[in-house]
């Protein structure tokens, strides 16, 4: 019953997605997400089991390839709430980013703020996540939202590779009018996390996570 309540909360609070955005206390985690219109990478350090600070870079391009944005940011990640259940885990994450954004259709750079929220629910076979992030600067609004749902065909041991099928839908204001749909193959091992996919406009996507 408690599990069901958490699950319903996660689904209803649709915001929007990736796996845990920070590692364990004292760890350094790096992540990258690469496609033709979206290139993102960052690294963070977990000060505690619930707080991480990091730096990151994001490069965005409009669907027609004419407009670009480059953001360099300092960010803070906070695990606001975690439910460790017998056979599942659910989380609410908060993000706060501040940085410098540049574009090819305006001069110089602007101060950008990038707050966000993510909720996720995961068992050894099912994964659901929703992430929302605002990318705001003077006269710029590139708010971002994504939802993800995935499943694994079977449970795997800790030292085995576990394949998942994940479907992601994401959307960003200002640079694209489309909702990008990407089916992905996710491979999880106790040392790495990799996703490979092709989106609805036949563009390849790849992302990874690694904890040092």
């Amino acid at each position: 019953m408690r599990r069901l309540a958490v699950f319903i909360t996660m689904v209803l609070s649709a915001g929007l997605a990736a796996a845990a955005p920070m590692g364990f206390k004292g760890s350094v985690m790096t992540m990258g997400d690469f496609g033709p219109n979206w290139k993102e990478s960052w690294v963070n350090y977990a000060l505690t089991a619930r707080d991480a600070i990091g730096v990151g870079g994001l490069s965005m391009r409009s669907d027609d390839g004419t407009r670009t944005r480059r953001l360099a940011e300092l960010n803070y990640t906070r695990l606001l709430k975690r439910w460790n259940l017998a056979d599942a885990q659910a989380n609410v994450w908060l993000f706060a980013g501040v940085g410098d954004i540049r574009g090819n259709d305006f001069g110089g750079s602007k101060l950008a703020l990038a707050p966000g929220v993510q909720v996720d629910y995961e068992t050894t076979r099912v994964y659901l996540a929703a992430t929302a992030r605002l990318y705001r600067a003077t006269d710029l609004n590139h708010d971002f939202a994504s939802v993800r749902a995935g499943f694994s065909f079977y449970e795997a041991d800790y030292d085995e590779i576990q394949p998942w099928i994940v479907l992601e839908a994401r959307r960003m204001r200002g640079l694209s009018d489309k909702t990008e749909i990407t089916p992905m193959l996710r491979l999880i091992h106790n040392r790495y996390f990799v996703e490979l996919g092709v989106n609805s406009t036949r563009q390849a996507r790849a992302s990874f996570m690694y904890i040092f």
Partner: protein, 115 residues
């Protein structure tokens, strides 16, 4: 007593002493039941944090049964508070701790046999 007689007595005595010493150094481990452990990539923190403790000989994570086993080095031990704190710092909750006279290898073999 000639050389061969001494040898014949020494060998069984040595084996007896070795056997006795080996049994007194039987491996001790703690098995922790852990809530929230659903993903190997995320649970690596448990293994890494526990492995860094000076008294740790070996760590085993069983994702399906949500069990973490920590074997101690000979003559050393870890208290429940330390083990629980490391698992909590990795992001998980401990629901039960149990000390067993088994090595991690034996626990792993036992759990794999049950699957």
């Amino acid at each position: 007593m000639n050389h061969y007689s001494r040898l014949l007595m020494t060998v069984p005595l040595s084996l007896l002493m070795f056997g006795s010493a080996a049994s007194s150094f039987a491996a001790t481990s703690v098995k922790a039941s852990v809530n929230g452990m659903v993903c190997a990539f995320c649970a690596q923190g448990i293994e890494r944090r526990l492995s860094k403790l000076p008294a740790t000989q070996a760590v085993y994570v069983d994702l399906k049964r949500k069990v973490v086993a920590v074997e101690f080095k000979e003559g050393q031990t870890l208290d429940a508070k330390t083990i629980t704190a490391e698992i909590v710092d990795a992001g998980y909750n401990v629901t039960k701790l149990e000390t067993v006279e088994q090595s991690v290898a034996e626990i792993k073999a036992e759990m794999k046999a049950k699957k």
